[in-house]
C-alpha cells in the first residue's frame, strides 16, 4: 500500500508583510494519516491551501503520482482527487444542507438539477458521518459543530484520494471526534492519504501515522506519530511546556454571577447556577446541548422566556447587552468569524472594540491610547502578525481567536463567559491564555468557561457543570471531574431520548 502519492518540494509563499512559507517539504503516502503540527501562524493552512488550489505558490513544486502538477483552481484540485476541509467553514448559510453537500456539482437530469437525487445522496452522506439532520434544513440554522460535520460529509462526497482536514476537531465534542476518527480510519484503510491538522496533541497518537512539524514557515521535522507529546511540543514551540493546565485555584468569594431558572422554550430549561469570585466554572456537554444558547441569553444577546440573571448583585434586563456589560459581564462568542471579528478591519480596531466606550471622552476616541493597549494585549497573547495594522482576515485561525479573546481581556470585566475560548489555539498559546484566566481569578474576577475540549474543562475548572438537552444535569467538583464522569452525565440523559 504505502507508496508515495503526493510530494511537496521547497514551497514558498509570501504575503504582504509576511513570509508565510519559507521552503516546505512534505511527503504523503497512500493509506497514511499525516499530521501537520505547528504553532498558530506557522503556515499549516497556507500549505494546504496550495494543495487545494485556493492559493498558488511563489516557488517550489507539487508532485502528484510522480508528476509535477499545477493546481490553479479548486476545480483542478477536485479533478486530481484532492478534497479539502478548510479551517474556516465554506458553507453557504442560506442554502440547505443538501445543496451545500453537492455545491458546485449538483446531480442533474435533462440539464436540470435533480432535487430528489440531491437529497437522497445528501441523506446517505449524513448517515455516513452520523449526523441526524434533514437535508432540507438551512445550514445557517445549524450549530457550529453540526456545520463541521456537514463540511466533513461534503469532503467525503468527492471520493478523493487525498483528503485534507484543517482542524476538523476544533469544534467537535468527544463523541463526534470518535465518529470522525472512525471515518478517517476507514478511509485510510481504503488507501486514502489523509492530511490532518490539529492542536489537540492527544489526538495525534490516536489517529496519526506520521507527523510533520512546521515552524515559522519551514518544515523542521518528520517524526512518527507515537513520539511523546513533550517531544512534539518541543519541536513545535522550540521549548518544552511543563504544565499544560496550570490552574491555580483561589478561595472563592461571593457569587458574582447568579442564574436562576433560565428558560427559553425549545432551547433550554430551568438553568440555575452561580459563579463566585475567583472561580472558574466549566460548562460541558455534547454538541447541541444548549450551552451556547444559555451563554448568549445570560449576556443579553438573545431573549429568554423566564428566569433571571444577576451580576454582582445587579439584576440584568433580558436582551440588554449594554446593561450586562455595565454590570461587568463579558462574553467571548464561539463563532469568531460570524460573531467575534470585523474581518475587514485591522487588529487594533478589533482589539479596541469592546473598550471603545471607555476610551471615549466627550465623544472623542483616544485612538492612540487604544493602540497602546492593543499592542500590549497582542504581545501578551503572542499574536503573530506583521503589525497592528494587519487586516484580521489575513491572520491565521488561531491568531484570529486570540484577537477575539484579547478584546475582552482589555475590558477587564468582573464575570467573563468564554465560549470555546481556545478553539484552534496552539499548545503554547493555550498556556498563555490559561495564565491570563488565572490572573483574572486571582484578582477576584469570575470565569464561566464553555468548552468541548474535555481535558481543558477538567484541567482548568474548579467546578464542572454538565448540560444535556438544554438542562443542567449535574455538577462535579474539580477532583471528581474525570472525562468518564463528565461524559456519563452528558450522555446518560441523551441516550434514552434520541432517535437514531
Amino acid at each position: 500500500m504505502n507508496q508515495e502519492i503526493l510530494r511537496v518540494e521547497g514551497l514558498r509563499k509570501r504575503f504582504p508583510g509576511v513570509l508565510a512559507l519559507d521552503g516546505v517539504d512534505l511527503e504523503l503516502r497512500t493509506g497514511e494519516v499525516h499530521v501537520l503540527l505547528g504553532e498558530n501562524g506557522a503556515g499549516k493552512s497556507t500549505l494546504i491551501k496550495m494543495l487545494s488550489g485556493a492559493y498558488h505558490p511563489d516557488e517550489g513544486r507539487i508532485v502528484l503520482d510522480g508528476r509535477p502538477v499545477e493546481i490553479r483552481t479548486a476545480g483542478d484540485a477536485q479533478r486530481l482527487g484532492i478534497a479539502t476541509i478548510y479551517q474556516e467553514f465554506n458553507l453557504v448559510p442560506d442554502l440547505t444542507v443538501g445543496e451545500n453537500l453537492s455545491l458546485g456539482r449538483p446531480p442533474r437530469r435533462f440539464g436540470f438539477v435533480d432535487v430528489k437525487a440531491m437529497h437522497r445522496k445528501a441523506k446517505e452522506l449524513l448517515d455516513r458521518v452520523g449526523l441526524d439532520v434533514d437535508p432540507r434544513t438551512r445550514i445557517g440554522s445549524l450549530g457550529i459543530a453540526r456545520m463541521q460535520m456537514v463540511e466533513i460529509a461534503k469532503a467525503l462526497a468527492l471520493d478523493a484520494r487525498v483528503l485534507i482536514m484543517d482542524e476538523p476537531t476544533a469544534v467537535l465534542t468527544t463523541s463526534e471526534v470518535e465518529k470522525l476518527f472512525a471515518i478517517v480510519r476507514q478511509l485510510r484503510d481504503q488507501g486514502v492519504a489523509v492530511v490532518f491538522i490539529t492542536h489537540h496533541l492527544e489526538e495525534i497518537a490516536q489517529i496519526g501515522d506520521t507527523v510533520t512539524v512546521l515552524r515559522d514557515g519551514r518544515s523542521v521535522a518528520e517524526v512518527p506519530a507515537n513520539t511523546p507529546e513533550n517531544e512534539l511540543v518541543r519541536l513545535m514551540v522550540g521549548r518544552p511546556i511543563d504544565q499544560q493546565y496550570p490552574r491555580a485555584a483561589e478561595e472563592p468569594g461571593q457569587a458574582l454571577l447568579k442564574v436562576e431558572g433560565l428558560t427559553r422554550r425549545g432551547a433550554f430549561e430551568d438553568v440555575s447556577f452561580e459563579v463566585r469570585a475567583g472561580e472558574v466554572v466549566g460548562l460541558a456537554g455534547l454538541v447541541g446541548a444548549g450551552r451556547t444558547e444559555v451563554a448568549r441569553a445570560i449576556f443579553g444577546a438573545d431573549r429568554y422566556d423566564s428566569g433571571q440573571v444577576e451580576v454582582d448583585g445587579r439584576r440584568l434586563r433580558p436582551g440588554d447587552i449594554d446593561g450586562a456589560m455595565a454590570a461587568g459581564l463579558g462574553l467571548v462568542p464561539e463563532d469568531r468569524k460570524g460573531q467575534g471579528l470585523l474581518l475587514g478591519a485591522d487588529i487594533a480596531e478589533n482589539l479596541g472594540l469592546v473598550t471603545l466606550g471607555r476610551a471615549t471622552h466627550a465623544g472623542f476616541v483616544d485612538r492612540a491610547g487604544q493602540r497602546t493597549a492593543a499592542a500590549k494585549v497582542a504581545g501578551q497573547l503572542g499574536v503573530r502578525m506583521s503589525g497592528l495594522g494587519q487586516e484580521v482576515r489575513t491572520l491565521s485561525g488561531g491568531n484570529q481567536q486570540k484577537v477575539v479573546i484579547g478584546k475582552w481581556l482589555l475590558a477587564d470585566v468582573s464575570v467573563l463567559i468564554l465560549d470555546e475560548p481556545t478553539r484552534g489555539i496552539d499548545v503554547g498559546a493555550k498556556v498563555e491564555i490559561y495564565q491570563l484566566i488565572n490572573s483574572l481569578t486571582a484578582s477576584g474576577h469570575a470565569v464561566l468557561m464553555i468548552s468541548s475540549d474535555l481535558p481543558e474543562v477538567i484541567g482548568m475548572s474548579d467546578r464542572v457543570l454538565v448540560m444535556a438537552r438544554g438542562r443542567l444535569v449535574g455538577e462535579l467538583p474539580a477532583d471528581e471531574a474525570t472525562q468518564d464522569a463528565v461524559m456519563a452525565l452528558a450522555v446518560a440523559e441523551v441516550e434514552g431520548t434520541r432517535v437514531q
Partner: protein
Amino acid sequence: MSSKTRVWLSENGALVALVVLAVALSLLSSDFLSVSNLLNVGVQAAVTAILAFGATFVIITGGIDLSVGSVAALSAITLAYLSTTSGLPWPLATLIALAVGVVCGLANAALIAYGKLPPFIATLAMLGIARGLALVISQGSPIAMPDEVSHVGDTIAGYLPVPVLVMVVMGVIAAVILNRTYVGRAMYAIGGNEEAARLSGIKVNRMKLVTYALSGGFAAVAGIVLASRLASAQPQAAAGYELDAIAAVVIGGASLSGGKGRAFGTFVGALILAVLRNGLNLLSVSAFWQQVVIGVVIALAVLVDTLRRRSAN
C-alpha cells in the same frame, strides 16, 4: 394555521401586502376590481417585472444592476433603427436587439468579474453608456417600431394583453433558471458565500458572466415590450426604472447582500408597485401627494411583512 402554510406565508410575505393593498383599493374605488382594470395593472407591471426578473439574478449573486433601464432603451432603439432605418428584416433586427442586451450584460460582468469593479460602479457606467448610445443611434428622436414587433404591445382575442403574457413567460423562465438549473443554484451559492462557492469548484467568474448576460437579455425583452406598447422606441425610455426594478426585487423578499430571492417574490413586488400607481390614479390623488403616498405604502408593505415575520419567530 398549519406549519406548512405558515412557512409558505413567511416566504411570500409580499403577497400578503399585495392582497391587503388590493382589498383596500377595491373598497376605496369601485373601478379597481374590474377585469379590464386588473389587466391594465398587469400591462403596467409588465416592463418593470421583466426588468426585475433580470435584476433578481444579479441581486441573488450579491450584485446590483443599475443599467437595466438604459439597456432596455438601447435594445429597443437598436431594433427600431435596424428594421426601420436600415431596412433589416424584423426577426433579424429583434435577434440583434436581444444580443445587444446580452452584450451589455457581458460587458458589465467582465468589468465586475475580471476588472474587480464594484457592481454598482460597473453598471452605473453602463447606465450612462447605453443611454448615450441610444441617443446617438436615434439622434435623440423616437423611431417607429416595425408593425410586426409592435403586436407585442397588443391584445390577443380582445382581452388578453401580450405584455402580460410575456411577463408571465419571462417569470416562469426566471423561476426555472433559479430553482432548477446549475446556473441558478450557483447564483445562490455565490451570493451566499462567494469564497465557499469558488472553493467548491464553481467557476464564479463564468457564472457572473451568465448572470449579468441574463439580466441584459431580460432588459432587452423589457425594452421591446415597452417600445411595442408605445409603437415607437424612445431613447429616453425606461429612464430611472432601475430603482423600480430593484425595489420590486427587494419588496419580493430578496436581500441586497445576496443569497436570497425568488422570481415569484419579484413578480409580487412589481405588482405591488403597479397596483399602487394604478390605485392612486383611480382615486384621483393629487399628483404631489402621490409620491408621498407611494413612499408611505411601500414602507408599510415591507414593514407589515417584516413585523409579521418577526412575530412568527
